[in-house]
Amino acid sequence: MKRPFELTVKEALELMEKGELTAKELVTSCLNRVRDMEPEINAFITICEDSALRKASQIDEARKKGEILGRLAGIPYTVKDVYNTEGIQTTAGSKILEGYISPYNATIIEKLDGQDAILIGKTNCDAFGFGSSTENSAYGVTRNPHDTERVPGGSSGGSGAAVSYGGGLFSIGEDTGGSIRCPASFCGIVGLKPTYGRVSRFGAIAYASSYDSVGPMTKDVYDNALILSVIAGKDSKDATSSPLPVPDYTLEMENTLKGKRIGIVKEYMNQGVDTQVKQAIDQAIEKFKGLGCEIAEVSLPYTEYAIAAYYLIGISEASSNLARMDGIRFGPISEGSDWQERYMNTRGENFGAEEKRRIILGTYALSEGYADKYYHKAQQVRALLKADMVKAFENVDILLTPTMPILPFKFGENSSDPLKMWLLDAFTVTINPVGVPALSVPCGKSESGLPIGMQLIGNHFSEELLYQFARNFEKA
């Protein structure tokens, strides 16, 4: 029998419903698991033991009294430390927010709280989401539970690792250019980057505002659909959130895939994909064929410009988004003879190398004489990427790619060469400028047992369809 921390959300809900498990037992099991694993993994920046146990007891009490409970009552979860949590430290993985206690909750925290889910901690990440390995955190690296010599992916690496080892039953990650999908793939879990606007960004510390997507990281497809059903929807505090109605994403996922068309992106398979990853993808394609899907080759001709465009826009927005980190209203502040010097010292001493790199490059890309060449040119490419993608969906229902071209790598293997690191995100970063949803689903393991993930990409607001593909695949 599974230990409580090993359960999926669905399983845990059923057991609690039947009275075979209490929220307190479940939360305690997860917290114990965290205590056991953290010395080695370091998935958490903050653990909320007291408040989690208190809330678990309240929920058990309420359940006993027969009160109506939320849809996720008693489910312990974590969030990437970019989400504002009232009264609990929020660092974004950076020293510049060390000790910052937010006075408000992100919308997703309010929504999950409203469904009686229990926050047990806040997870490690590359500072402000700047990275694909969680090596750029001011709070130490997170190790991959499948092989502690290797990275968990990033930037939501803490979330990926925590869900993978049972430190909470699900996590909310944040994906600007693969930051949910990469760690989902490297940690062997399911991670969704929803359509831009599907989930409110209010209270999510911004990396690149026009890319940032808030999504669930879960042990399986059903849980992912369930969490998205809870967190999605229009938010009056986020002008970019979509008013489209939110379906119950768990309802249609068992429907047959017969006659559905899957596109394989020609350009992606040419880009130095690891042979074991390619093998796993080929096997997945065969499996989909077995489920009645047709396979078609699709071309996205502007792919070769995607990474450059992604980064130019991303760092431009980031350079502006991080301007508010000035030490005046929150966060540590350094000494200086006047305000300008205090600014410079505060930012100089508390931003890490990757933050400085992106701020400097972004500032440059927006500067006089360069904005046309870089920022505006990148926006033109973005428009072409969108057109490319929309066109692809005229012929196929979804696109299938590897999530990451390589297996989880060892610490330091790529961090000495920032450009190489950026290039690893080739398949994931293309999605965010376009705004479509993409789901990373485990699709096999390497010879040495490392997880491999595939990425299913759908048209705007096609999350239901992505879950249908993923659930059928998972079941088969």
């Binding site: 911004a206 508010r324 005046i328 209203r329 305000w339 006089e368």
Partner: protein
């Protein structure tokens, strides 16, 4: 120095705080005046991590309204942009403003000028947010973010002014317009309307614009604006006179005398690294919407002035006075709606001259402006003298008692009974034999004698009748 050789080239940027209930991008109360520091704040206007801006529809409506009133073209697709710079009172490290698709552009405003009407071209009208406030005290700097995020409309003119009088006229007219539109109180003492001056000086003989520009920021009143212009013309002319070119720079006020000091050499516009605000979707201002806003616009100062002068036959100066602010013209129009057209010009004069000179703080609740009509009629029909008329107005105004009653109580009705006047005149003439005998040599004596009669009658006699009587008596005496 011969000042006649030089003339200024002046453009204005005017910032106007809209009087919306809430701030531009959050729900905080925008009416912060005299509130304790940092009591009108939230994560959004404090620029806390993760907070997002949501545009205020009412503020956008106001901005569109002003743009239409200034004859601007409205951008059907407008958007917000980030203007990036560091300053402690700018919490996000950028101001949300508008860059290349402002709400309105390419408009104009007509202003009266001694040499006939003049057209000032409006470059753009855009929406942005105000910053917080730095308070420097005892060597410390304190920050108050109550003002942070208050909706701010920016109006930019072309460099179409060549004298300070036109600038003043323009500024006053613009203030009237926003008050007419009811989108701002534009109270300068509260900082609700502020000016930035772009000024350079050129030789009067050339048409070419100068190749430099001096910007003076944050001017909080029209009188200071005038002083700054005077001093800048002087300063820049002197530099030109010495064969040099003034440097392109930003200057700041030192004090209310209009003296300025260099703050920094002007950074290029792109130094702000403008780019589209990704947190706010594009905004569509379609034709139907613009028409709807347009329909809400009432008669504006220029149209009203023209109507007063041409249709109501009111003198220009009087008309200017009455249209100066909505309260004034509204009371006027309400009052004249009930009176005969022929008396309107006279009513206007009394209203703008006599009524305006009253201390409004002493106004009695029961006083009605229509009563002024009664007073004017009585004066016109010589039932009371003009002087009595003013006295009645003041008394009615402060006590709320109807003019008729006051005339009655005070016995102000003019004595036009000629018998009574005749005998009084006779008495005066008899009492002033010297004056009477001087009359042939000195006709001024007439006025002296009339004055004496009037005095004897307590000012309540019809001066014309008295004059006739005195005149005929002097003649018969002679």
């Amino acid at each position: 120095m011969q000042t006649g050789l030089y003339e200024p080239v002046i453009g204005l940027e005017i910032h106007i705080q809209s009087k919306t209930l809430s701030k531009m991008f959050c729900g905080c109360d925008a009416r912060y005046f005299q509130s304790d520091p940092n009591t009108h704040t939230c994560p959004v206007c404090l620029g806390l991590p993760g907070a997002l801006p949501v545009p205020n529809k009412a503020a956008i409506n106001y901005c569109v309204k002003l743009a239409i009133a200034l004859n601007c073209k409205i951008n059907e697709n407008t958007k917000f942009d980030r203007k990036n710079y560091f300053y402690p009172d700018l919490p996000k490290g950028f101001q949300i403003s508008q860059y290349d698709s402002p709400i309105g552009h390419t408009g104009n405003m007509e202003i009266p000028s001694p040499s006939g009407n003049k057209t000032v071209r409006i470059t753009r009208v855009h929406q942005e947010e105000d910053t917080g406030k730095s308070i420097h005290e005892n060597g410390e700097t304190y920050l108050d973010y109550n003002k942070s995020g208050v909706p701010l409309i920016e109006v930019v003119t072309e460099p179409d002014f060549n004298n300070k009088e036109d600038v003043t006229t323009f500024a006053k007219r613009l203030r009237q317009i926003v008050r007419y539109l009811d989108i701002s109180n534009a109270d300068m003492e509260k900082g609700e309307m502020r000016f930035e001056l772009n000024i350079s000086v050129k030789s009067s003989s050339t048409k070419e614009l100068p190749n430099y520009k001096v910007e003076v920021k944050n001017i909080g009143s029209i009188s200071v604006l005038e002083k700054v212009i005077e001093l800048e013309i002087e300063r820049q002319s002197e530099i030109l006179e010495s064969g040099q070119t003034p440097i392109q720079e930003t200057r700041g006020l030192i004090d209310m005398s209009g003296k300025t000091a260099s703050q920094r050499t002007k950074e290029a516009e792109a130094g702000y690294r403008y780019f589209p605000e990704p947190d706010i979707p594009l905004i569509e201002l379609n034709k139907a919407y613009v028409e709807r806003i347009k329909a809400e616009i009432i008669e504006l100062p220029n149209e009203k002035l023209a109507r007063y002068i041409n249709k109501l036959n009111i003198d220009r100066d009087i008309a200017e006075n009455i249209i100066s602010d909505p309260e004034t013209y509204q009371a006027f129009e309400q009052a004249i709606s009930k009176i005969d057209n022929t008396i309107v010009p006279l009513f206007a004069k009394w209203y703008a001259v006599e009524y305006f000179s009253l201390d409004q703080a002493q106004k009695h609740n029961d006083f009605k402006l229509e009563w002024l009509t009664e007073i004017i009629k009585k004066v016109e029909q010589r039932e009371i003298t003009r002087t009595s008329g003013k006295e009645v107005l003041l008394a009615s105004f402060t006590t709320g008692v109807m003019p008729d009653k006051i005339i009655e109580e005070k016995g102000l009705r003019v004595i036009s009974d000629s018998n009574e006047l005749e005998s009084e005149a006779q008495r005066v003439l008899e009492g002033n034999p010297k004056a009477v005998s001087d009359y042939q040599k000195n006709p001024n004596v007439l006025m002296f004698l009339v004055g004496q009669v009037m005095k004897a009658m307590g000012g309540k006699a019809d001066v014309k009748i008295v004059t006739e009587i005195v005149k005929s008596k002097l003649k018969s005496n002679g």
